[in-house]
Every structure is written in C-alpha cells, then in structure tokens.
C-alpha cells in the first residue's frame, strides 16, 4: 500500500461514517415528521373508541382504557337525529357527479383554449383566473335564489350544479396545462396511421392525460366532499343533508357536547377520502408534476 492510497482512503472512510450518521439523523427526522402528520388521525381514532365520560375528565388516555363501539352505534343508528347513511349517500352522489361533470366540461374547455386560436380566448382564460378570487361566502343568498328560480333547492342536481361551477375554474386552469403537455404531433401521427380524429384521441391522447385528470379530479373531490356552507342552506331538508352538515348537527346538538361521538362521526367522514387517496395516490403525484412542469 503506498502512502498515496492510504491518504486517499482516510477521508473516504470519514465520509462514509459521516454519511451513516447523517442517514440515522434523517431517519429520526422522518419518524418525527410521520408522528406529527399522523398523530391527529390517531387521536381522532382512539378518542372515538372511548366512552364519553372517560374522555372528559382530568385524566387523558393515550390508549382507550375501556374499548367501546358505542359511539359508532350512536352515530350510525341513533334515531333521534339526522341519519348517517342517507347523508353518506348524498355526499357520495354529489361528489362523484361533481368530479365527473367538472372533468368533462373542463376537458372540453381546455381543448378549446389549447388546441384552437380564436377571439375572446384570452379573456376566457382571464375570467377563469379572476373567478377563483371571488369570495363565495358573499354570494350565498344570490346563489340560493338562482337555484330557487330553477326549482333546484333540496335536489342533488342543484347542489351538484353549484359545486361544478365552484370547481370548474380551477379544473380548467390546471387541465389546460396537461392538455398542452400532449403534443399535437402525436395525435396527427395517429391519424396518418389511419385512425380517425376521435380514434386518435382515445387511443393516444387520453391515456397520456389520465394522470392529469386524476390529479385535477382530486381537488374537485376534496371541495365537494368538504363544503358545508352552501350545503347547509341549499339542502335544508334533513333527508338531503350531506356529511359535513350532518357532522355539524353533532357539534351543537345538545347543551352537552358528545366529543366521542363527534370523533366517531369525523372518522366515518374521513374514511372514504383516505381510501380514495390511497387508491389514486401514485397517479396523482405523477399527474401533479407533469401538469406543473409542462404547464
């Protein structure tokens, strides 16, 4: 071994030690981040399995002392207040319709603004951007009247229509980036190969767009699933309630707040979203990047 190689190896070893230390430190940080991110979810779950009289007291339990399903029974089957299952049904229908319709409409619109040059194209894009800045809280009464004029109060169609309009600007805005990212040449190449324009679209463009559609759809999903102010006034009949409104009835139902039941209700409201996110997670991030980078 020459002195030169020894000299060269020492810093190398030092570096690998340093690397190992830093990798341990980073792993520890990762665990801390995980705990911070997941703890509220854990806390919601564990509270929801405790009897109400054990969670309001001087002792705080980090794990249920008495494990009970009672809160879920209360939330799911109590007949003296709004029912969970109809509210779940309404929420699912409204959300799915909102996402599907918004995506279709937004896709058509983004085709128009990316694939064509026409007058008033720019002002359309500008409008789409400005509309996102309007505080919706101020328009509730006007929106309510529009729906009333169309006899859409207390209907799935009415709430869906409002939600579609709320998420459309953002959906068009983002989808535009994805459609832009699919080169026209590809479609044209397909047409030369004997496909019709629609055929070329379905076989070539659509698969490339799928992640983008998923990524944009997620935002419509979140919006429609969570919104409660419009849902509160538009769906005034109890059987038309959506989940956020249903959850609110628990928060203020009696002079007494049943925290355990609220946590059980929150859990039930969150589960569908968590499942949905787990299913689409991979596609979504893929979509987010391609949209942002190319947009």
């Amino acid at each position: 071994m020459t002195t030169a190689t020894v000299r060269a190896r020492i810093p190398h070893r030092k570096r690998s030690v340093r690397r190992r230390v830093s990798s341990i430190v980073l792993s520890v940080i990762a665990v801390i981040v995980f705990v911070c991110a997941a703890f509220p979810v854990y806390w919601m779950l564990q509270t929801s399995f405790q009897p109400n009289n054990e969670i309001i007291g001087s002792q705080v339990n980090f794990w249920p002392k008495t494990f009970t399903f009672r809160n879920y029974e209360t939330v799911l089957f109590a007949t003296d207040r709004a029912q969970f299952l109809p509210a779940l049904g309404n929420s699912v229908i409204v959300t799915v319709l909102t996402v599907v319709i918004a995506l279709i409409f937004a896709f058509l619109a983004s085709l128009a603004v990316t694939r064509f040059r026409f007058r008033s194209r720019k002002s359309f894009i500008l409008t789409i951007l400005i509309v996102q800045m309007i505080p919706g809280e101020a328009m509730i009464v006007s929106t309510y009247r529009v729906l009333d004029d169309w006899a859409l109060l207390n209907t799935i169609a009415g709430l869906t229509l409002v939600y579609v309009a709320t998420v459309l600007p953002f959906t068009i805005w983002t989808l535009r980036g994805f459609v832009n990212g699919v080169p026209v040449d590809l479609e044209e190449a397909g047409m030369i190969d004997g496909l019709s324009r629609t055929g070329a679209f379905w076989k070539i463009t659509f698969p490339l767009l799928a992640p983008g559609l998923v990524a944009t759809g997620v935002f419509g999903f979140i919006q429609a699933w969570n919104e409660f102010l419009l849902a509160l006034v538009v769906m005034s009949r109890p059987e038309m309630m959506t989940l956020p409104v249903w959850l609110r009835t628990f928060q203020v139902a009696h002079g007494t707040t049943n925290w355990a039941a609220i946590m059980a209700g929150s859990t039930l409201m969150s589960i569908p979203v968590i499942i949905f996110f787990l299913v689409i997670q991979g596609r979504m991030t893929q979509g987010l990047v391609s949209g942002a980078v190319k947009g």
Binding site: I56, W150, L152, L161, A253, G255, T257
Partner: protein
C-alpha cells in the same frame, strides 16, 4: 371534432334535464287538499312526547295530511331561516329564538296571525313573548315556551363553608367568592366567558339597561353608570369565583358539577336533566348527586327574585308556506293545553300563563316560577338578532372575563351596538 361538439351539447342538455327532473316533483299550492306540513323545531328542548303528540294529533285531525318535524340547530339558525323562508321550498311552521323573532317579523317572513290571536290563546299567552312576536301592531309569532335560568348548587359545599342560599345579589356574589376561596381550584360559580345571558341580571339589578329607544334611535347602555357597576360585579365573579375557560361557552355544564370542580352554576332549568342523566348515558351525568343538588332563583339586589333573562322560543308560520291553512291548524295544536302541558312537565314554562301550575310544586318548579315572574327580554329591535349574531356580546364578555378594562370595552361595545341597531 364533430363528435366532441356533440358530447358538449349532450352534457349541457343533461344538466338541464337533471334540473327539470329535480323540479318536477313539486305540487301546486292547494290549501284544502291533504299535504305534508314541515315543522322546524330547534335544538332538543322540545321533548319527544310533545313531538309525538303533535304528529299524531295533527294527522288524526287532518286525515290524509302528514306532519314532519325537522330538527334544526341553534348555531347558524338565522342564516338558514333567512334563506329557507325566502325560498319556494319553505318549511311551513318554524320555531325561532325569542330574541331572534323580530328579525323576521319585521321583514315580512312570517304570516300575519293577527286574526288568529284569540284562537291561539289571546291574552293568556306569555305577554313578553307576544311582544317579541309582534311588529307594527300585528301579531306574527306566538310564544312556544320559556325557559328560565336557575342557580344549581352543591348542598354539601355550601354547608361546608357555612353558607346559606343567598337572598340578595350581594350575598350571591360573596357566597360564590367564599366557595372559591375555601375550595382552591374549584369554581364557586362556574361561568365561562361566552355566557353573556347570565350577565344581564347584574346590569338590570344595578339600574342599567341594555339599550334604550328614544326619538327613533337606539342608544346602547353598557357604559351607563348602572351597567358599569353590574359589569364590575360580573368581572369580579368571572375572575375570582370561576375556573371555567375564559373563552369557553356554556356547553357541558354538568361535567364540572359531576367531577366536583363546579360548586355552583347558573343555567337553563333543563340542565337539571343533564346533571342527573344516567351514568351510562351518551353524555353521562351523576344521578348519585341528586340529593346533593340544590336549586334557587337568582336573588335581586334588594331581595326577592332577580330580573333574569327570559330565554325561550316563538313559533310562526312562514309567509311562503304552500299550505297556510294546515300550518295554522298545526300551530293551534302546538298552543293547545295538551301540547303545552308536556313542556310544563319537563320543566319549561308553557306559552300560556294559565298553565304555569303544570310545572309542579318541587324545588325546581318553585324556583322557575319565581324566576319567570321577574324575567326580562332583550331590546325589542328588529336588529337585535343581528347584534347577537355578530358575536359582539360574546367577544365583549370574553374580554371582561380576561380582566379587560370595563369602561373602555363598554364604550366600544356601545358604539358597535348603536351601529347595528340604527344601521
């Protein structure tokens, strides 16, 4: 591209169709025929017995018609009533808080019931609530029930400190402070900062007012000499006698009481049932404390019953009701002796003076009737509901509870309330 344009048109058509389908279910207004009447009751104050009574009686008297009770929550009620009562899908009969009623009687949201006044009970109806439900000489909203605020206390704690049930407001204050001093860490009087209803008697008993009306303008009176004196007492109690959260609201009063950290609390009469709820109830109470649970009406400055705030509800028919005839029939059942007696049995003051005896004769009943005898209302302005909804009062008392400077806070509050009432 033609196909795509077609898709676009089809989608637009689908939306329109969906709209039509949704609207097609509506039946034209027909007052005589059988129909479904929607009644909005707020909160859980109205007992299940009363709800069943209303539904079965109505459906028996009006064969073919049905009555649906839809429970609403107090939070955001004014918002929801504003939209729902103005729309075509309006509920028929609605309950509204007595302090909120003026917002709707003055805006034409309710059906004019002046010619039904006699049939609904006439002068037997609770006068303060009739006033709250009237506007411009017309009668819009009938009383539904009244709840009074009582003071609940632990008999053993009072005895341990050598105290007796107070007979004057001054003694009430000194009692609470003595209890707090003798039991460090506990509330001699549990009083969360947002609970402003309990502060009103102190203002009234010291000669203050909430707001006065003169020459067409309202003047908020929180910074008047009498009010300031009352507010100082409020602050003293909140800071010295209460360990309740300074920005908390009045929910779950039973928890501290059952844990033993609350020795006294002032609350609506139904809180008795929260305290005595079974230990395995959804929101458990402590029934074993029943013999230790005492109750009295808030004493006045010069003895006797204090002037407390009369909480409660009014009930009215929506001006947009598609079946006003049936709605009025439902209203008559609600104001009938049969229905109102159920309130009395459940510790709420019935809408009719003549039914006061249904409250019974126990300690609570006695306290209720002496409190109700001296109950007062908030200013009879159509905009008072907006003052409550603005949150100015809860903000104010939260700041008082924190030990804020009373004269300057009161002045700012007066300016804000003047702005709303005269705006």
């Amino acid at each position: 591209m033609r196909k795509l344009s077609f898709v676009a048109l089809a989608a637009a058509a689908a939306i329109t169709l969906a709209g039509c389908a949704g609207g097609g279910t509506k039946t034209p207004a027909a007052d005589d025929g059988p129909a479904d009447i929607r009644v909005w009751l707020v909160g859980t104050d109205t007992p299940q017995d009363a709800r069943d009574y209303l539904k079965t009686t109505f459906e028996k008297e009006n064969p073919g018609s049905t009555l649906t009770i839809e429970e609403q929550s107090w939070t955001g009620l004014v918002d929801k009533l504003t939209t729902s009562l103005s729309g075509s899908d309006s509920p028929d009969v609605v309950e509204v808080g007595n302090t909120q009623a003026a917002a709707f009687t003055s805006s034409g949201a309710f059906l004019d019931l002046t010619d039904q006044y006699k049939a609904l009970g006439g002068d037997d109806l609770l006068p303060g609530f009739v006033e709250a439900g009237s506007y411009d000489g017309k009668f819009y909203a009938a009383p539904l029930y009244s709840g009074s605020r009582l003071v609940f206390y632990k008999k053993d704690a009072l005895a341990a400190s050598g105290l007796t049930v107070p007979t004057t407001l001054a003694q009430y204050i000194s009692n609470a402070e003595k209890l707090a001093a003798d039991n460090p860490g506990k509330s001699g009087l549990w009083w969360p900062g947002q609970d402003w209803y309990n502060a009103l008697p102190f203002i009234w008993e010291n000669g203050g007012e909430i707001a006065t009306f003169k020459d067409g303008t309202w003047a908020s009176q929180f910074s008047s000499a009498g009010s300031i004196k009352g507010l100082e007492q409020v602050q003293e109690l909140m800071t010295k006698a209460s360990t309740a959260p300074k920005d908390g609201n009045e929910t779950n009063p039973q928890v501290g009481f059952c844990e033993g950290t609350t020795l006294q609390l002032s609350a609506p009469s139904w809180v008795k049932w929260s305290i005595l709820a079974a230990a395995d109830a959804e929101t458990p109470g402590c029934p074993d404390q029943e013999s230790n649970l005492g109750v009295y009406a808030l004493p006045g400055a010069d003895g006797g019953a204090g002037q407390v705030f009369a909480g409660g509800s009014n009930i009215a028919v929506s001006a947009k009701s598609a079946h006003p005839g049936l709605a009025v029939k439902a209203l008559k059942i609600i104001l009938s002796d049969g229905f109102q007696t159920i309130y009395g049995k459940n510790g709420l003051v019935p809408a009719k003076v003549s039914l006061a005896s249904t409250l019974g004769t126990d300690e609570v009943a006695k306290a209720i009737s002496s409190a109700a005898g001296n109950a007062r209302l908030t200013p009879a302005s159509p905009k008072w509901a907006d003052v409550e909804a603005s949150g100015a009062l809860t903000d104010f008392f939260v700041q008082i509870a924190q030990g804020g400077d009373i004269p300057s806070l009161a002045k700012a509050l007066d300016a804000k309330i003047d702005g709303i009432l005269n705006g």
